[in-house]
């Protein structure tokens, strides 16, 4: 299983801090698409993903036990 953490306004949108899913074998992009639909999240294509605190591209494949964090880029300044 995999722990998935949401940051910033993604957390408000999902209504939850973190979830546990079985994402082993999926790519980051696939997991994004799945979660976007399930939680009705705003477009996730420019949301940054970290696997085990390491930045990972959309093409990266998730392994069993990996912890995934989704960090939406922030625009305010």
């Amino acid at each position: 299983m995999n722990k998935v953490m949401f940051f910033a306004h993604l957390r408000d949108a999902a209504g939850i801090d973190s979830i546990t899913v079985d994402a082993a074998g999926k790519t980051v992009a696939e997991l994004k698409a799945e979660l976007a639909q399930k939680y009705d999240l705003p477009k996730m294509d420019t949301v940054m993903a970290a696997i085990n605190e390491e930045f990972s591209s959309n093409e990266e494949t998730i392994n069993e036990g990996d912890v995934i964090a989704f960090i939406p880029p922030v625009s305010g300044g």
Partner: protein, 339 residues
């Protein structure tokens, strides 16, 4: 000079040699809002040689809650931020050469300013300008420091051309919508936390302490008591059009910029964003509505009252700003809502 900067010369990371380096450097600060105020003030107090500040906006009442260079008098006089910033920074340190530019930081303007700049600090409120900064940084080999904040949340990342990944490696395109201070609100401590990270990195770059540079992407939330540092060793994208082997610097290209046009005789400006995609009008309507904006709409467009102006926005991100003929102001209004 020794007495004025004595406490930072005492800090071993700077020292007398570092102080002289700071004195010899020229920083370009893009934006004089919340992050621009704080970063500009720290560099001015630290004794930077030369500081160029560019900003397109005027000081407004709602800025005072977090933009530290401005006072009630600046709001009354409706001073441009760049001019008000210059005035305050001169009172703080008359030794620093400050150049204030009132205007839009377009790719063309940024390229024109690049010569002789040692560091660019990002204090803008939109990703289009950040992507242009990112391309200027790569093309002219100038380090830059990304910073942003919204709500109690913020982030920072230091980009060194030839060494670190760049912003285009991370995002690969301009986000069509990013949360802004006008849509997500903002508290001043989050602003200061982003500034702390940006200005610490700035000092490291100015004194050329390359080993001390932060290699991680920092993200924090002061209300939720979170702080994460994301490792970036796998983030560099070899095919990146900004920092890869065959760069084209796409965000310096006019095709990839937001287009603004005055619609003759209608006191209206049309905005056509560079980012392609579809906006969820329903989500935007409920978000803006819950923020207290007056919103009307149908399946094809939304109409939002924004104080002085009315914005009509379409599904593809195109918008009409009614009530102004000022291209720069209209773009500013648009980006404050859309990011």
């Amino acid at each position: 000079m020794a007495e004025r900067y004595s406490r930072q010369i005492l800090f071993p990371g700077i020292g007398r040699e570092g102080q002289e380096k700071i004195r010899s450097k020229h920083v370009l600060l893009v934006g004089a809002g919340a992050l621009g105020s704080g970063n500009g003030e720290i560099l001015t107090r630290a004794g930077i040689g030369r500081l160029t500040i560019i900003d397109r906006d005027y000081v407004e009442e709602s800025n005072l809650q977090r933009q530290q260079l401005y006072t009630e008098a600046d709001v009354e006089q409706k001073l441009p931020k760049a001019a008000a910033a210059e005035k305050r920074l001169r009172a703080i340190n008359s030794d620093v050469e400050i150049e204030a530019i009132i205007g839009d930081a377009t790719p063309e303007v940024l390229e024109g300013l690049a010569n002789g700049i040692d560091l660019i600090i990002d204090a803008t409120d939109n990703f289009e300008t950040r992507m242009a900064i990112n391309d200027v940084s790569q093309k002219y080999r100038i380090p830059w420091i990304y910073g942003a904040c919204v709500g109690s949340h913020g982030m920072s990342f230091t980009i060194l051309p030839g060494t670190t990944p760049c912003l285009n490696c991370l995002l690969r395109r301009i986000p069509l919508q990013g949360l802004t201070c006008d849509t997500g609100g903002i508290i001043a401590p989050a602003v200061q936390m982003a500034i702390s990270h940006q200005s610490a990195e700035a000092l490291k770059i100015l004194v050329e302490d390359w080993e001390a540079i932060r290699s991680t992407f920092v993200s924090f939330d002061l209300w939720r008591n979170e702080y994460t540092a994301m490792k970036m060793s796998k983030a560099k994208f070899p095919g990146c059009l900004s920092c890869g082997e065959h760069p084209t610097y796409p965000y310096l290209d006019k095709e990839n910029m937001t287009k603004t046009t005055v619609l003759c005789g209608r006191d209206t400006v049309q905005i056509r964003p560079s980012a392609k995609g579809e906006i969820s009008l329903e989500k935007l309507a409920s978000q803006l509505g819950s923020l207290g904006y007056e919103v009307k709409g149908n399946p094809y467009l939304l109409s939002v009252e924004l104080g002085g102006e009315r914005m009509v926005i379409f599904k593809d991100g195109r918008a009409l700003i009614h009530g102004t003929k000022d291209l720069t102001h209209a773009k500013s209004v648009y980006q404050r809502i859309m990011g």
